[in-house]
Symmetry: C2
Amino acid sequence: MSAEHRNPSEQHRAEARREQILCAAATCFRNHGFHGASIAQISKAAGMSAGHIYHYFDNKEAIIAAIVERDLEYLLTLSARLRAAQDTREAMIEHVTEGVRKSLEPHEAGLKLEVVAEAARNPQVAEIVREADSVCRASLAATLRAIRRADGHHDDEGAIDTMVELLAAMFEGLMIRGIRNPQLDRAAVARRFQATVRQLLTQP
Amino acid sequence: MSAEHRNPSEQHRAEARREQILCAAATCFRNHGFHGASIAQISKAAGMSAGHIYHYFDNKEAIIAAIVERDLEYLLTLSARLRAAQDTREAMIEHVTEGVRKSLEPHEAGLKLEVVAEAARNPQVAEIVREADSVCRASLAATLRAIRRADGHHDDEGAIDTMVELLAAMFEGLMIRGIRNPQLDRAAVARRFQATVRQLLTQP
DNA sequence: GGTTCTAGATTGAACGCTCATTCTATGTTA
DNA sequence: TAACATAGAATGAGCGTTCAATCTAGAACC
């Protein structure tokens, strides 16, 4: 059956297979790291033979790249959702609590840190990560700009960009905090973060 | 020659050899990750045979543990230095610029992120990391408490601990920012961080 | 409707290589 | 000579990857 004659259900099946591999790979990467996880482990977790994985991915690097892309895709949809609440400053401050919870989720944080660590040494992964980060920054900057303007503040581009970096550092740093100090008081941190974000948004 | 008869120069030599291995390992781990770096690579970088490394370390895990400990030892001396400036709030705010610079240093950040990512999955590494983090938090909390009291503020323990978490998240998050967005405006970020820390220290 | 054909899905063994680790032999030095 | 330092080959396991062989399910034809 040639490619152009594939029916929808077959395409769907293939896509499901790919997703199945990516889910298994994400679990393995979380538990053993990108280089610590083997194709044999991934294939076992995905419920298929090792060889069959190579029908869907060229090599292990391609799986890593796909995981990174999938991981960041979620980040992009989140940033889009954030922009939908662009009309109210308070909606953003409300969102802080959920952001703190998400950053502290060890399941999320583990894989994300693995991705960043890999980006620090793998140029191919670094490029994917930086491209996605750039889009997220732009989205967050637009949101901040709207909020600040609505309150009558006049910030130059650089000031907005720097606010974005502070916000990003806070929440990304929280992923590290959750690992280094699992006993931290989540509710108290959420309140403190909320207060800091409010100060940032309302400062002169 | 038995252990109790070793003369100082021999002890020094052995220590130097260990250090030599750790330096080489740090470089390899930075470039390839804990699991991506091989004993063969490390031995080549250290200028000795692969087998000889096993005279100084039981196995690769022990090298990782030693690297983690060495990495965190530096953090502890830094936190001690920070406490020496405990008498003035402004000294701490001054220190922010250096802290930002350090966090953005890709050499430092790469290995530290590798360590945290490993801590997220390796309980042995996690224990070392959490023990060191606990000491650092205590030190930073003492510094904050002193500054706040000197200014006549009365915070409970939890409030101080949460301030510590915010500060830690900001600077640790900056390590991720430096990788995700290498083009960020370092000077502007340093100023913004300084303002945020000042607000944190002087708030009612 | 039943048979044959066919092409993709899937397997599992095999390949060559590299890994962490061990072992043996030799160098060095006090 | 005794005790450690060091090198380098040996070991067996496991790695990523390939590939020939099988399975499966629908298309084509009678």
